[in-house]
Symmetry: D2
Subunit: 324 residues, 4 copies
């Protein structure tokens, strides 16, 4: 690659009620960097960049964009040149709060992507433990996207954007049903799963340890957010993560996540899981609820702000067959 | 009371395959005190008494008896005198391995009870941490019984046997749907829940901390016991316990349990929960599976060893109505 | 016994600066039930009684009294009768905030004791997890007293007050150097250790799990209380507790404590430890600092409020000899 | 850089008694990949490479080499070319068990380094939780070297080998007293501290969570390794890690480590700590024992296998001045 993508950087979500969203994310332990009538900028306790989650007040819930950080401004230019050469229409945005110039485009699945090299830095709160609360969210970890053609996305991100695959799921005729891809040496910066899309399935945030996830459940429940807990706690077979899935007040799905492993080595071979392996989705054997496979956040076009039209999933199996 | 019941002491379960049972309980971290072709004696890591779980090889799974420890041999005699005066037929057993003489009878719900004052003592393994494994089970905590008339059981245990109530559940017309009763100052030594019975719903074992429960799940799953995890991990609203429910190879239900509170004070007022409060059964709002409300272990008559005939539950509601 | 002591109930400490004390105890997660210019009433998250720690503003730091809860008002009368028969001068106090009548006297070592049957009840915060912070202190657990003649105290509490011994330490000529005694079925409600006294060595508070202790250290350090951490975290061999010792702004010592075991059984035999066993004081082999053996809180006379004169320890060895 | 160093890869330690070493490392939860009369190959539970710790039976304890993994065989050649151009004498080794060809040389401080691109892969045990024991060591994390001239080492690793600095310590006249440097995006792959050297201060291994460290202490103590616990558990201010320092049977120092943060971002500014800041070495304010500053493992010359001669530290202050 002529450009170096560092890691997943931020998600920009449209929400309908800033105050409701603020209370929810505050209960998880996010730090509010700043806010006004139109938006709230949130970050985790260890993050030294301005935000990793931007909530914008809009009429309808949607994903505006998921963003990746690249190494330098030059990387941005080289990425833009490559995209234009590929016939992809890019959009540059110069003025976003706290952010340097950003490059947006629709990826091969129709997901709205953004790339940037610089974001304003702020104080890390890593060692201000008196501020820790709820699940004590540490940092953004990954995006999970539901797309109609996972294999196409998988190929594109690996060949064109330089991602590596840590684990994947195969089902019918050995087609890839889901794929976990990374730039930073964790299990993933982005994952794709087979489904009607393109849609954002969830944004994953890293916790410092498993007890923070249990603490998070207790605080959520105390504050009346029990119904927002959609799935978990449990351990994923795939990725080995200890997980919890939440739905925010607009239905956006958030994963709290701890426990994957180092994927720095070029000789690490992607791990294959069978779609119907009951230990794949939950190592302990619990079935995920149907809504987890069916519901997701719709995404916007970077050029006109309209919703991207959904396409049917290419693979017919929308969820695993449970054999236990 | 003229007699002093100390605590829940042991359960005697009939199992159909000792080797299968041994492997299962071993994976949870139980210590095997001794065993032969007919039975296995198990205890938790902190227990200084010979066993708290006795598995006997039999043709059919069943509960032979749940047992309570009393203070002295005199307490046994006084309890026997009281029972006979009440017209209850008691049975003395002198010769059981590791146990002093024992008094057995059928309680007001038909549950087979046993009382004993002395059990052989053995080495505690509390500080032999190199033996800790799986969920690192520490000690027996409580019994949970499904009975047709909870209110009758509740009254009997409090008035006749000296138990105190920590928490209870009310539903239709303020009738007691479930009750948690204790002798030792924890949330319970025994609980009763409304249902077809008498049946043993589960035996609860105490863990040293919440991480032991997570570790337990991981080890169970690694060893292929994922399908034996029936419910959890989660937190009970009632009792505040962090819980996991397992089904052993014969379907007997075991609860791994951590996190209740001290109930020593005479002025502690029983806490009332509404049956349909979604935070009652799981503080985090998860619904328990139907099998958790429907399936339980049948129990035997202490006098002839035959199965006690089941009666329909007095309260019509067999499980909570979920409103979320 | 003709009276029934339930458990350790509260400590009344004199402090010199209420605001400094408030900040310190707040950082540990205590709940402030109420306060005024003269005093602060604190309790743990699971406590349904008004307070377990009362801080009174005074010119000098001291222990006013350690208090035990008894079952009924009649128990108080029977205890008073017994004490007077023994020639012990008792003092009744009728009017203390939130408390029923209380009986005070100096015990055999000169420690100021108080007994009461009733304390105002308040809301438990056990399941208001959004209030949890710092070490999330749950409840009072025990007192530790430094006295000149441990064996005399040990005998008195067992024979005259009905305590049971869980563990003890012997040194020179098999004399008891320290003793752990309980009424509630935990390792202790009170412990005595050999030293110049009578003095209060520490008050122990129960935590819900080991991670709360680690969290407590982090929050203390963030808030500048690093120098107040005197010893730990570590595991005691004796009691098996995971511990942390703190010094409050007046030098009073507080123990955060998790992990002992059930001592309900009459046939539990007290465990003997050798004073010089390096695993006794810290199972992991760390040496406690000298100040931990030398410094303690002076105590007051219940009749005139003056400091009780210190006596030299009967056993010459003031701390273990470390052999590793 | 024309070459890409991936991460710290393995340490090769000389030990005097393989059986003693085997028992010690086994108690920490290492997996033994293979062994013979001369050596033991150990790895952590998540490692898919053959080993990360190689213990060779020799007459005297010493460090043979610390090794880094590079991306490809070409990287090895380019690194060799650069070193030779700099006048550094390199040594190629072709035949080591499980390893591809390796490049060895003495770094600017005299530390024996090794670089390799390929190591045999083996089964990860990440999800065989039934094998987890002790501290459940997951993977190698970093090396810590005591060297006479930290600033020279710091400059060399950053400018010549492409490392980035996450945190550093300054003392006298703003000279760098210690430095934490990384290739993988964690706090470090290698750290240097001021002292008589070159010596290996410790090898750090990553744990999955803080409770594994507590569990590790308990198991070590149970097995009689209490005296091998040199420092901790505690939290480092610098790096934020929850740590434990152990001395193996030959005195080699091992760190168990959990809790640092992601350092992927090029705009992350190195954090400066003052040498005498009491929160630097232990966030909770505990002083490290003198032996921790004074004792370390001597290292060998890659060309003749003799011990590298020690030089005095350039900065006079060999340990922090404690102000609390």
């Amino acid at each position: 690659m002529s450009f170096d993508i560092i890691r997943s950087g931020r998600a920009v979500l449209h929400v309908t009620d800033l105050e409701k969203s603020r209370k929810f994310y505050d209960s998880l332990g996010f730090i509010e960097t700043e806010s006004d009538q139109e938006q709230i900028f949130l970050r985790g306790l260890e993050e030294h960049n301005h935000h990793s989650l931007l909530l914008k007040k809009k009429a309808e819930p949607a994903l505006e964009v998921i963003s990746y950080k690249v190494r330098t401004e030059d990387d941005l230019d080289r990425l833009a040149a490559k995209l234009e050469q590929d016939g992809c229409e890019v959009k540059w945005i110069d003025k976003q709060p706290s952010l340097g110039r950003a490059l947006r485009f629709q990826d091969i699945s129709g997901m709205p992507l953004e790339f940037y090299a610089t974001m304003e830095t702020v104080d890390r709160k890593l060692q201000q433990y008196e501020l820790y609360k709820g699940a004590k969210v540490q940092r953004i970890d990954h995006f999970n996207c539901m797309v109609p053609d996972v294999e196409a996305a998988h190929e594109y991100y690996m060949k064109e954007l330089g991602f590596a695959c840590s684990e994947y799921t195969s089902g019918e005729e050995e087609k890839i049903w889901a794929s976990w891809l990374h730039r930073k040496p964790s299990v993933h910066d982005v994952a794709f799963m087979n489904g009607e899309g393109p849609r954002l399935h969830h944004v994953g945030f890293w916790l410092k340890d498993p007890m923070s996830l249990i603490d998070g459940c207790d605080v959520l429940a105390s504050l009346g957010y029990g119904p927002n807990i959609e799935r978990g706690p449990g351990r994923h077979g795939l990725s080995n993560a200890f997980f919890l899935y939440l739905r925010d007040p607009d239905g956006h799905r958030i994963e709290l996540y701890n426990g994957d492993y180092l994927t720095s080595d070029p000789d690490f071979k992607p791990i294959r899981w069978d779609l119907d392996d009951p230990m794949r989705q939950t190592f302990w054997g619990h079935e995920a609820p149907d809504c987890w496979f069916e519901e997701a956040t719709e995404v916007l076009q970077v050029h006109n702000g309209k919703k991207v039209k959904l396409k049917e999933a290419k693979l017919k199996k929308h969820k695993p067959t449970f054999v236990i």
